[in-house]
């Protein structure tokens, strides 16, 4: 089971990079589709945050009683999950194809090495904690 850890670990034991953190910023309306696709390949632990941002996508204009506002920080969903190295490619492929509409604004995925993972409940470490 993949699981996300947002905790800061002070004593870091860097032994083997066996885990990857995948951070994906996607269109909010694609969230369900992406979740279903990941679930289908056995990934069902993740953390979701509602965020605002923009890359190359242009924003839009809003007008309130003649006052114009250019809104370029658009609502997005940030998904974070940590997976074993071995599954990383498969997860990235699944995620990207589920989140893709082919238009500007589909979002981005970033991948990081994870030094350690700890399950708080019982101090499990490494892949076993995912």
């Amino acid at each position: 089971m993949a699981w996300i850890s947002a905790c800061t670990v002070k004593k870091v034991i860097i032994s083997r990079h066996r885990m990857k953190k995948i951070e994906a910023i996607i269109q909010p309306h694609k969230l369900e589709e992406v979740k279903e696709a990941l679930k289908a390949i056995g990934i069902d632990g993740m953390t979701i945050t509602e965020v605002r941002g923009h890359g190359r996508q242009k924003g839009h204009k809003e007008v309130y009683r003649g006052m114009e506002y250019h809104v370029d920080l658009l609502p997005k969903v940030k998904m974070e999950m940590v997976v074993p190295d071995s599954r990383s490619d498969e997860v990235l492929h699944t995620l990207a194809s589920a989140a893709r509409s082919g238009k500007i604004g589909d979002g981005k995925i970033f991948v990081y090495e994870v030094a350690e993972a700890i399950r708080i409940r019982n101090d499990d470490r490494g892949e076993g904690a995912l």
């Binding site: 809003e62 007008v63 309130y64 009683r65 003649g66 006052m67 114009e68 506002y69």
Partner: protein
Amino acid sequence: MPRRILLVFCLPLLAAAQSTPSNEARLAAVEAAAKSAQSAGDNAWMLVSAALVLMMTGPGLALFYGGLVRRKNVLATMMHSFSLMAVVTVLWAVCGYSFAFAEGSPFFGGFHYLFLNNVGSAPNADYAATIPQQTFMIYQLMFAIITPALISGAFAERMKYSAMLLFTVLWTLLVYLPMAHMVWGKGGLLNAFTGGKIPCFDFAGGTVVHITSGVSALVCALYLGKRVGYPEEPMKPHSLVLSFIGATLLWVGWFGFNAGSALGASGLATSAFVATHFGAAAATLGWMLAEWLRSGKPSMLGGISGCVAGLVAITPASGFVKPFPALLIGFVAGVACFLMVTVVKNKFGYDDTLDAFGVHGAGGTIGAILTGVFATSLINDGLKDASGKILPLGLVDGKPEQVLYQIGGVLISWVLASVGTLLILKICDVWVGVRVSRDQEIDGLDLSMHGEEGYNFET
């Protein structure tokens, strides 16, 4: 069987034989019963109307304004309207009603009704002969509550709460009560129906409520200055959903405001009801159309702003005009107020936070003047000469000078509101200071004035 029928027929005769009231006494009893029936009907409508007008302030105006401000000021803005429901009520009981409606000079009422003395269930025939004076008193109170609440749209997001309280108390005393007396009080300068020198028609408060509040709003906006960051920083309405609920409650409540101003459940009340509704509808379309043409999209905020502008403009005219002139007045107000809050406001650069001037000042002025054009005795036959002949009202009745009287009334309310407001703001500024500090403004008034927040999603 036949014997029983005979008995039934004989009973009334027997009863009549026992006591024989004179025809005069029976007639008097019938008249008393008819009077009491009319009084019951009128009183029922007027109590409902009073409640509807209160509903316009809270929740109506509180939601309308509350949704238009930023999230950090939602409670403070609602508190403006809500506090006035309490403050003005107490003021009204102590002296407000007396100062507005007791007989006095052409400019100010008197002391006859101080502490609501002499205000009981007996009607006051000078104002409404078929309802208890107490009903009239409570109905008029609701107008006195909403009027200063309307001004709060201009000083929202930057006025101290203490200054707001002091300002509205002084404003009610020095601007609202004299204006209400002049237009509606017996012997008032502008009261067309009790021999005022400048006979104005203001059915439900175009001058008394909307011009005074709208013009005072402009003075407040100019005196207080712009909000920190205006107009560079985005200051989008935080919840148009709240504003929508508020605006549509205003539309419904306005039936009490205008149709209730007939002071009875009469045909005139129906006529005012119809004119009110038509004015609001046409103004909604007028604003949306103007916006659609100018900025490419018709917005919901535009639609609800338009309906309020139309309700404002039809207010003075509602008990005097036919349905089609009502549509016209509404449409004109919708387009004109749209231009006021978009073109004119931006050109002059004042920060009238929620457009109290652009909607109430402008809409009220347009409505007051157009009342002089379209008022007709076919709708309102209240103006009569000594012999009881019904007199013409407006331009359409062949009395063009009425337009000038209306302009006179508009000018007097503009002058009273602007001079009075400026004076009161000075007093408040010296006494408590009118504007919050920069830090308090940035934190938001909910936190800095009231120590609470509108939305606590994490709890």
